[in-house]
Every structure is written in structure tokens, then in C-alpha cells.
């Protein structure tokens, strides 16, 4: 069926948003959700949070979204986060960050992390599926409210993912979308690219005047819980400008929420000194108040301070409310200098000191200074550049709620100016830091369908390798290093296929086969067939590849079949790997087995 509309979904770590592109300009959609017991309504965003009430905790059917007939086992959205902040054992959040966790299997029920209620645990995959299912229903009910009833087949869905997501995390996201009923043709788009598409759409044809051939644009995306960097290069071809995403950063678990928390801790210390100690509930209120105060001060540069009041929990408001203020200089110390310090270009983020035993959890950053993470990202040589030369951006596109603040945008520009005084980076005007990702996803989908409008060429953001056992005589006490063979070079284009020509494998039929699978975001110059001598040291292990080849007709029980490895980067943004029999057209697909250690 012809796709007549595009639904852009920003499946955020802490908040989701949706946009629709049909005939007119792309527009944001309101998301219907449960706002409290017996209360539903619409909001522009939808908290990526799930809460599992105990039976009887709320009146029957009071947490049922309008499209459900039966009592749900969970509630999703803003109310879930609100009630869950007081019952953390039953709250699932940050599922997205768990999707790309290297040490867990994201299809295993392990959220809420650390909860003792083993009866109600969800996998990060399942949590993502539930959010997406909710968003689909919210979309359908939004259309129904407007008297429309589009066939789902006519909707092209574009789902955004962090640029840092590796192949396995991408695949799992695509699978979650399919399981949520979004169909098998969901297109994945990296969030910084989506922000760039939103900018292109906002600025219109005039975008060609804001960038020049040879420019490198930094997309600096600081969301609620994560920070994501990408570099997009501008070149000229046949008189028109071409865009290419040349480099992506790693998954940095650091964002606006950390800033609000840092402010709240500082304010709590102030209140402590004044003799008021806050309980956990009051601290949540303080975090919220700190966020509003921060936004207020940033929006009103003339305001010297913002008073903050934190009520007590009981109904007595006057006696129990404690008050303090957030002065501007404190905000500047904590947020601007704390997170966006003017560090040198060679100052790298502190690594988490490794001790023998580490508690398994989300790999939150040890270093909160975003400036250092930015320097680390820029110092990694992007594709095509001279070895050892870092590419400093000519322009910056800001994205994420924290960059609504002019002061923070100015600080990042100041930082880049200090790193590159001869050619200071300029800001690309016309960005919309708040909801750009969902809108950009819708814009991208429309461009993809119509074939009209600028496109960003984006190849594989990482290079991929399969592990090979080294053939060497056994030496007691010595484990030979695992060699790895590059099968997908970084930058390989969407829709293209790579064949490992000079390497034939002998594939045993009738028995399960496993390969170790590695990736690297750093090795930008490896080509197909490049051998990495010590994969465990040089690369990141992503998953295992598994397959079982059925017996091949005419070859007996278990035979050795010569095969070649093919890799294809699909138009949907996922990687397909298969083994192709040399003598015939027979092929067997390799499946990612998510990492479990």
C-alpha cells in the first residue's frame, strides 16, 4: 500500500515525542496518556516510564488508557514516572540505555533494575515494545478524534535511535517496533541526523546559505539523560551541496537531568545548613523546583535569583514549607562551569577507576564535564581526515532541551572558539532544540518517500568484524589471541553490499555454528578483509552470530560447504549478514545473538 503519511517517533531515554508529516508541514502530535487515576489527557511528550501497581493499589480500571478494554498490568507515561518516583521498586525507566548495554541480554527480564519484585520484571526490549505500542495507539486515537481513520499500512514509521547504537541495539529496536505492531518496514534514523533534518525543514532552501562546501557541522545533542554528538560534512557535487554524516560519538549517559540533580543537591546542602532536612519526597519536589528555577533564570538574564519553596508532604502548607533561593552565580557555577567548563582541547574525561568488583548497572559517566566528552569525540579522527588531525567544526547545530538556554549555547561556542581561535564555529540559526528529533524523523520519512529534498548520506557508523580462531600449535598456559576480519567498513553506504571476496569459509552443515562479532567506532580506515590481530584488545565485542545450516540435499549428513560472507546495510538502517554458497545461490542468514556474558 502506498505510504501517504509519515509518523516520526522520538523514542527517548526519558521522554518520547511524535510528529506527523502528511500533506502540509510536519507537525507535532499530542500523546494521549493516563495522567492519573480515572484521568486521561494529552501532552506533547510522553515519559518513557512504566509503573507496575500492586493489585488494589488503585481503583479498578482507573489506570486504563481509553483504547484498552481490559485492566492493564502497568501504566505508562508521566503518571507512571510520578508515582514511581515514590515506589522505585516498581518503576521502569531508562530502558533505552539498557538496550545498548554491553554486559546484559536486553531480552531478559531485568527491569526495574535491582528490584526485588521478581514477579513483575520486564526486559528492556519489552519495555521499548510497550512504549511503542502505546504511541501507536495514541496516534490512532489522535486521528480518530479528528474524524480520520487511516489504514496503518499507509503510515510509514521512522524511529529515531542514538547515533551511538551499535548493530545489536539497532536490531533490537527494530524488532521491538515490529513486535509493537508498527510493521516490519520501520526506518531507523540517528537522532542527531533527525535534528539536522528538522533544521533543514525549518530553514527551507535558505539552508544552502548557512553552510559552505568544506564545512563540518557538529550536531551537539544534550537530552535529558544522554549526550550524543555527530559530525556532518558539507561538500559540493555537480553544483549542489551534499551532506554526509561522517562521525558519531559513543553513548554518553549524561544530560539535563544530571544538571537538575546537581542543582538540587547544592540547594539541599543550603537547606541543610539552615537546619531543614528534606525527606526523599521533598527532594523530588526540590529537583522539579530546581529545574523550573534554572529555566527561569536562563530565560530572564536580568533576574538575579529565583526563590524556591519546598512544601512538606502533609496537608499543612504554611508551617511545613521551607524556602531558599537559587542565585544566578550558583547556577553558573553548577551548570555552566560544572558541566560546560572551559577545558583545554587535550583534557580527556576521567575514566571510571576500575576496581575488582563493580556493581553492574547503567554505565553512567564518571566525568560530568561535557566539554571533555566533546573534546574526546572531536579528537577521534573522523573518516577521511588526515591521521592525527582532529576536525574542528565550522558550525554547530544545538539540540536537546538544555540548549533552549542561550547561555549554554554561548558557552559551547566559546569553548569551540578557544579550541580553534582562527576559525571559530558559528551557530546554525533556526534550530528548535526541544522537539526537533521527532519532527526531523517525519521530515526524513517524507523525503525518503518523495525523493525530494536534501538527504544526509550516512553509512555504517561503525566497522564490524568477525572473529576467527588463530591456527597455531597449542602452548600450555597461553591463550592465542583472537584474530578478526573486517566485514563492514565504517562509512559503508545504506543499501550497498559488501562481499568478502578472497576469503572462503568451510561451513559444516547440520551442526550449529557460532561466530564472535566485534565492532569499532574508532577504526575508521579498515577496509573489507582487514585483519585485526588481537580483536579482544582492539575491538568491542558486540554479540555472537549464530546459525544452523540444514542438511544440504545431495551432500550427506554433515558436509563441508564452501561459502562466502556477504554483508548488506539495509535501507531501513540495519545490517544483514549471510553466508552464500559459492557453487549455488543458496544462502543462510546469520542471526545476532544478543550478548550474554
Amino acid at each position: 500500500m502506498e505510504k501517504t503519511q509519515v509518523l516520526g517517533i522520538d523514542l527517548g531515554t526519558s521522554n518520547c515525542a511524535m510528529a506527523l508529516a502528511d500533506k502540509g508541514p510536519a507537525r507535532m502530535l499530542e500523546i494521549t496518556q493516563v495522567l492519573g487515576p480515572n484521568r486521561v489527557g494529552e501532552k506533547n511528550t510522553f515519559a518513557s516510564a512504566l509503573y507496575f501497581p500492586t493489585p488494589g493499589q488503585f481503583p479498578p480500571h482507573s489506570l486504563r488508557p481509553p483504547w484498552l478494554e481490559v485492566e492493564p498490568t502497568h501504566v505508562a507515561g508521566d503518571f507512571a514516572r510520578e508515582i514511581g518516583s515514590q515506589v522505585p521498586d516498581r518503576l521502569v525507566t531508562s530502558a533505552k540505555s539498557w538496550l545498548s548495554h554491553r554486559l546484559i541480554d536486553p531480552t531478559q527480564p531485568l527491569l526495574p533494575w535491582g528490584s526485588t519484585h521478581s514477579d513483575r520484571k520486564l526486559s528492556p526490549f519489552e519495555a521499548s515494545r510497550l512504549y511503542l505500542e502505546h504511541l501507536k495507539q495514541a496516534y490512532l486515537s489522535e486521528r480518530a478524534r479528528n474524524g480520520e481513520n487511516p489504514a496503518w499500512d499507509s503510515v510509514q514509521t521512522v524511529l529515531t535511535i542514538p547515533a551511538s547504537f551499535d548493530e545489536v541495539a539497532r536490531k533490537i529496536t527494530a524488532q521491538a517496533a515490529e513486535a509493537a505492531g508498527l510493521g516490519s518496514q520501520v526506518v531507523l534514523l540517528e537522532e542527531p541526523q533527525a535534528a539536522f533534518y528538522a533544521w533543514l525543514d525549518t530553514v527551507g532552501p535558505a539552508w544552502r546559505e548557512q553552510v559552505r562546501p568544506g564545512d563540518t557541522v557538529l550536531v551537539c545533542d544534550v537530552g535529558g539523560g544522554t549526550t550524543d554528538f555527530s559530525l556532518i560534512s558539507v561538500s559540493e557535487k555537480g553544483g549542489d551541496l551534499e551532506l554526509e554524516r561522517v562521525s558519531v560519538g559513543r553513548h554518553i549517559l549524561l544530560g539535563g537531568d544530571n544538571m537538575d540533580l546537581a542543582l538540587a543537591y547544592t540547594l539541599r546542602a543550603q537547606l541543610d545548613e539552615a537546619g531543614h532536612s528534606l525527606d526523599d519526597w521533598q527532594f523530588q519536589v526540590l529537583v522539579h523546583a530546581a529545574r523550573s528555577a534554572k529555566e527561569n533564570l536562563f530565560e530572564n538574564p536580568g533576574m538575579p535569583e529565583v526563590p524556591i519553596s519546598v512544601p512538606s508532604r502533609g496537608s499543612g502548607l504554611f508551617a511545613g514549607t521551607v524556602a531558599t533561593t537559587l542565585p544566578r552565580n550558583l547556577l553558573e557555577t553548577v551548570v555552566i562551569d560544572g558541566f560546560f567548563a572551559l577545558t583545554r582541547f587535550d583534557e580527556m574525561p576521567a575514566e571510571r577507576s576500575s576496581v575488582g568488583l563493580t556493581e553492574l548497572g547503567l554505565p553512567y559517566e564518571a566525568d560530568a564535564v561535557i566539554s571533555k566528552h566533546l573534546a574526546a569525540f572531536l579528537r577521534r579522527t573522523p573518516a577521511g581526515a588526515k591521521p592525527g588531525a582532529a576536525v574542528l567544526p565550522d558550525a554547530v547545530l544545538f539540540n536537546g532541551g538544555v540548549f533552549r538556554s542561550e547561555a549554554l549555547r554561548a558557552r559551547v561556542l566559546e569553548l569551540l572558539r578557544a579550541w580553534n581561535p582562527e576559525k571559530p564555529a558559528r551557530e546554525l540559526a533556526g534550530g528548535d532544540p526541544d522537539l526537533a528529533v521527532a519532527r526531523g524523523a517525519a521530515v526524513y520519512g517524507r523525503t525518503k518517500i518523495s525523493g525530494k529534498g536534501p538527504r544526509i548520506r550516512a553509512g555504517a557508523s561503525r566497522s564490524y568484524y568477525i572473529g576467527l580462531d588463530t591456527a597455531m600449535p597449542a602452548i600450555p598456559g597461553y591463550r592465542p589471541p583472537v584474530k578478526a576480519l573486517c566485514v563492514v567498513p565504517q562509512g559503508m553506504e545504506e543499501g550497498s553490499e559488501a562481499i568478502l571476496q578472497d576469503k572462503e569459509f568451510g561451513l559444516m552443515t547440520g551442526v550449529p555454528v557460532t561466530f564472535r562479532f566485534f565492532s569499532s567506532a574508532v577504526r575508521t580506515r579498515d577496509a573489507i578483509g582487514t585483519v585485526v590481530a588481537n580483536a579482544e584488545k582492539e575491538l568491542e565485542e558486540t554479540s555472537k552470530l549464530e546459525m544452523e545450516v540444514p542438511q544440504v540435499e545431495g551432500l550427506g549428513d554433515s558436509a563441508l560447504v564452501p561459502v562466502q560472507l556477504h554483508a548488506r546495510l539495509s535501507e531501513l538502517g540495519t545490517l544483514e549478514l549471510w553466508l552464500q554458497r559459492v557453487e549455488s545461490d543458496q544462502r543462510w542468514e546469520l542471526h545476532f545473538n544478543v550478548r550474554t556474558e
Binding site: R39, H61, S62, S309, L317, F318, T321
Partner: protein, 222 residues
């Protein structure tokens, strides 16, 4: 606009209006003090009390309109809360329920009912001011999200305005030396407020509206 259709009872409608109006008055009373960072003076307090008066009156009107019975006498025996009895043939007062829903939102986000129901005279202006910020921040979020209030008058307060013949009397209320002549030349004393959208939460679920609905449940920590 997605307001649920309400029973066209004039009484109820006016009660709703007065309810919203009282919110406006209350906001007007609280806002200036907060913006300037100055504590509440006697005049603002008076205005708050006026707002409270109108609000209570509107709630009372609701109670008549919706035939909401008197609250049950408070139980004297403490402790055990029995499982809730199945709802009896309850009065189906949908519009009243929607108003209570909005009130519960103001309470949850801005402690509005707590603020009104406590005896304000026992506390200092400083304490009342600190509490008012809690109410202001929360209720402002709720009211902005639900109504996005913006001024009616195209020109700011204290500036001159000319109203041509046939102006919308729903938008401008003319007082002073009104003689019916037009155009009217005057000065804006209050810019007025208009809801730029109406985005109210809806009631959902099977539960009938009870005669004395819960605005916000009692919270128990275990």
C-alpha cells in the same frame, strides 16, 4: 477543543465560570507578589481571601447543581479502613466530576486545596509567601497547560484604546461614563484574559461519580 459536552444547565455553567474566574482572581492576587519577590501585603492577602470566597461560592453552586450531598460526618473510630463497598446508584454528575478532576489537578501539582483549607491567619506573611510560591508554580503549570491564558486587550494596561461601534461586549467591559455613543475612547485598566486553548484532562474509567468525590486521596506510606 475537547471539552466533554456538559449538561446545559445555566446554573452549572455559571458555577463553572465563577470557579475559573476565582482562579483568575487568585492568580492575579498571587502573581504580582511573586514576580517582584516581595512578600504579600495586606491588600494582596485581601484579594486572595476574595478569590477564596468566590471559589468556595462556586463550589457551593456546583454542589447544588450536581445535587452533591453533604459530606458524611467524619468517622470517630480510627484505624481500619474496610474494603470499598460497591458503588451504589450514584448520581451521574459528569460535569461536576470534570470540575473536581481539574481541582484535583490543581491540588496535586500546586497544593491548591491545601492552601485554601488551612487557616491562613495563624501564619506570618513570610510563611504564607513561601507557601504561595509552591501554589503559584504548580497551579501556573496546570493553568498554562489547560488554558494557555493570554491577554484580551491588544494594548497594555494604562494605555488608551478606541472601541469602534459593534465591538464584542464579551471581550470588553466598559465602565465609567458610559453613554452609548461610539466610538468609545477609554483606557485599559485590566487587560483581560483569554484561554488560547482548552486542553482539559478527561474522566476515564468505569467508576460512577460518587456524591462526595475524592479530590485527592489520603496518602499512606508503608
Amino acid at each position: 477543543m475537547r471539552m466533554q459536552p456538559s449538561t446545559p444547565t445555566a446554573l452549572r455553567r455559571s458555577a463553572g465560570l465563577i470557579f475559573l474566574l476565582s482562579l483568575g482572581v487568585l492568580a492575579a492576587a498571587v502573581l504580582p507578589g511573586i514576580y517582584t519577590g516581595v512578600g504579600l501585603d495586606a491588600w494582596s492577602l485581601l484579594r486572595i481571601l476574595l478569590g477564596i470566597g468566590i471559589l468556595l461560592a462556586s463550589l457551593w453552586l456546583f454542589s447544588i447543581a450536581g445535587k452533591i450531598g453533604n459530606a458524611q460526618p467524619a468517622p470517630t473510630a480510627p484505624a481500619q479502613v474496610a474494603p470499598a463497598a460497591p458503588p451504589a446508584a450514584a448520581a451521574k454528575n459528569q460535569s461536576g466530576a470534570e470540575a473536581v478532576l481539574f481541582l484535583s489537578l490543581l491540588q496535586e501539582k500546586g497544593r491548591f486545596v491545601d492552601f485554601l483549607m488551612e487557616d491562613v491567619s495563624a501564619y506570618s506573611n513570610e510563611q504564607v509567601g513561601a507557601a504561595a510560591r509552591v501554589v503559584h508554580q504548580g497551579c501556573r503549570e496546570v493553568v498554562n497547560e489547560a488554558f494557555s491564558p493570554g491577554p484580551v486587550s491588544p494594548v497594555p494596561e494604562s494605555s488608551a484604546i478606541t472601541l469602534e461601534a459593534g465591538y464584542d461586549a464579551g471581550e470588553f467591559r466598559v465602565v465609567g461614563k458610559v453613554d452609548g455613543a461610539s466610538p468609545l475612547n477609554g483606557k485599559v485598566v485590566h487587560k483581560g484574559w483569554r484561554a488560547n486553548h482548552i486542553k482539559l484532562p478527561r474522566r476515564q474509567g468505569n467508576g460512577d461519580v460518587t456524591p462526595n468525590p475524592v479530590i485527592v486521596p489520603a496518602e499512606i506510606t508503608v
